[in-house]
């Protein structure tokens, strides 16, 4: 297969759009729209991409799943359930700083497995600052831990992180299969990460707290509307149950989420304009734009050619594990510094191309999910959750709670490195498990 003119043109448009996205010269959504329009327009002129192909390249399952979950989260967020949980955790930690860190991080990780981790951190971060303020503790270990472990928790499920949704949708991986394969490495990485954080922040956490400093937040005012909370929890429970059985019922994960959303709307009857206002349309349009851009590159035949070239290497049984580890580490390194979504969207058709060439690609999907997820912890810009906690710490006005990008790097790079080493060892030792 030779390198053709459409391949060159589509590559230039892709690189142009990615440069705009990564340099943040203009907003990433604007960059994605400009890139998508350029790709379709030029693709039509050079006859390698059509409007129909562009529309078909947008993964509706991903977009609808994200939109539905954003609305459900918006409803849950207004109930005060997260606040209640955080206060209870601060109480059962019995004024022990290390226990508080473990409990809060565990809660954030678990929530991030089902709900958007950005929302989780947006709710938990200011509350954690208040709890630590009341207990006269340094909030930095707690917020850094929450951001990092929400990123780790999100790797475990199909819906925990947008790249996972894209991978699951493209590879037709169901929720249970994703959980069964990703949960074991994520649990081990979680244990290693929290252990590292306890060590890295040992000075900040070595504080004795007397009873007067114990968090005295009032749980009675946390739940704003108990009836609303019950209705939201019922809807969320339906979604979670449907996630576990969607493949048996031949339902897309997005449809499972939409069923739960419809139930929530029927039970709570929220004002639609307010609910739809809670959806982060900018993110969804950004994803749609990327799908169209990468769809153009795919239509040019470039990604198939890359897939065929890589297939020669990956087809050899000994090289498949190496290819997985390479994808994991490269994905992590890139995701630490740039948005992991464009990388994931670009990698998906390449891996699908490998599949067409007869390569058993299942472990490559797991490697990609682990890499893009773990890489986010590396730098303060690696994940949106990191940026949120940096901003919340700055807003807190607490003197020793400032966190510079270099401070993050000192904790983030070892965390990512530990996560990758642990994942690589698990991957290598139990490679057969990840093959099916």
């Amino acid at each position: 297969m030779t390198f053709t003119q459409p391949m060159l043109i589509s590559t230039v448009i892709l690189l142009g759009a990615y440069v705009l996205i990564f340099t943040e010269k203009i907003h990433r959504t604007s960059a994605a729209i400009i890139g998508a329009v350029s790709m379709v327009g030029i693709g039509m002129i050079f006859d390698f991409y059509s409007q129909e192909e562009a529309l078909q390249s947008i993964d509706a399952n991903t977009i609808f799943l994200l939109a539905a979950m954003m609305m459900v989260v918006a409803m849950l967020r207004n109930t005060g359930a997260f606040e209640y949980m955080a206060i209870v955790l601060s109480r059962i930690s019995r004024s022990k700083p290390k226990l508080l860190l473990i409990y809060l991080c565990a809660a954030v990780s678990l929530i991030s497995m089902i709900l958007d981790n950005v929302t989780t951190v947006i709710v938990f971060a200011p509350l954690t600052i208040l709890i630590t303020r009341l207990m006269q503790l340094n909030p930095v270990p707690y917020l850094v831990g929450e951001a990092m472990l929400s990123n780790v928790g999100g790797i475990a499920t199909l819906v925990g992180d947008p790249p996972n949704i894209m991978i699951g949708s493209a590879a037709n991986i169901d929720f249970s299969t994703f959980l069964v394969h990703m949960a074991p490495p994520v649990i081990v990485v979680w244990i290693f990460t929290i252990t590292f954080l306890l060590f890295a922040f040992r000075k900040e956490l070595a504080v004795e707290i007397d009873d007067k400093k114990t968090s005295k937040l009032d749980t009675r005012h946390a739940i704003k509307d108990p009836a609303l909370l019950i209705k939201t929890m019922v809807s969320l429970a339906v979604i979670i149950v449907l996630f576990f059985i969607h493949h048996h019922m031949h339902l897309y994960p997005s449809f499972a989420a939409i069923i739960g959303l419809a139930l929530a709307m029927a039970l709570m009857q929220p004002k639609p304009e307010k609910l739809f206002g809670e959806v982060n349309w900018s993110v969804l349009v950004f994803f749609a734009g990327l799908f169209v851009i990468v769809g153009g590159v795919e239509a040019s035949g470039l990604l198939s050619m890359l897939g065929e070239e890589l297939a020669h290497v990956a087809k050899q049984p000994d090289m498949l594990l190496l290819t997985c580890l390479l994808i994991m580490w490269v994905a992590a390194m890139l995701s630490a510094f740039v948005d992991n979504i464009p990388f994931t969207v670009t990698m998906i058709p390449i891996i699908l191309g490998l599949e067409s060439a007869g390569v058993p690609v299942t472990p490559l999907w797991w490697a990609l999910a682990l890499g893009v997820g773990l890489g986010g912890n590396g730098t303060h810009i690696g994940a949106t959750a990191n940026i949120i906690v940096m901003s919340e710490l700055e807003k807190s006005g607490i003197q020793n709670a400032r966190l510079t990008p270099m401070d993050w790097l000192k904790k983030g790079l070892p965390t990512t490195f530990i996560g990758l080493v642990v994942s690589s060892i698990i991957f290598s030792l139990f490679f057969d498990y990840f093959l099916v």
Binding site: E83, I87, P126, L127, I129, L130, R133, L134, Q136, K212, K213, K216, L217, D218, H221, A222, E392, K395, S396, G397, I398
Partner: protein, 148 residues
Amino acid sequence: MKLLDCTTSTGFITEDMTVKQAFAECVKYNTPGLPYVDKDQKIIGRFSIRNTFYATSIPADLIKHAHLLGNDIEHLDIPEQNVSEYLNKPANEFLINQILHLNPDSQIVKALALMEQFNTSYLFVVDDNDQYLGVVTHLSITNLLLKI
């Protein structure tokens, strides 16, 4: 009802004033904020008690979760040391550039609507020659209404 009937003449906050002096001026004229003037007596901004408290004493996390604070919390009071520290700061550190003003011929309902729109409880009254005439507040409007 004329807006001028509920306008209170006040002084200004000047460049050489501290926060303590600015607070005292606000208390003296019973207003939540006063105009800030430069050397040429030109209004270049405003000093607001609420904004100063917000900037010095109430962190965002506290505001967001104020309803969760128990009544038995003792150590969250504004420490006296902090108070004396910011009271001695120059008032211009808390200057707000946005100046909300209206003409003395305006209807009272316009004043109330503007206060709602900008989430404030006071507005400056300035005539066509940019002459400052005073401040109108929710309280001064209420006072006028009670006289009807």
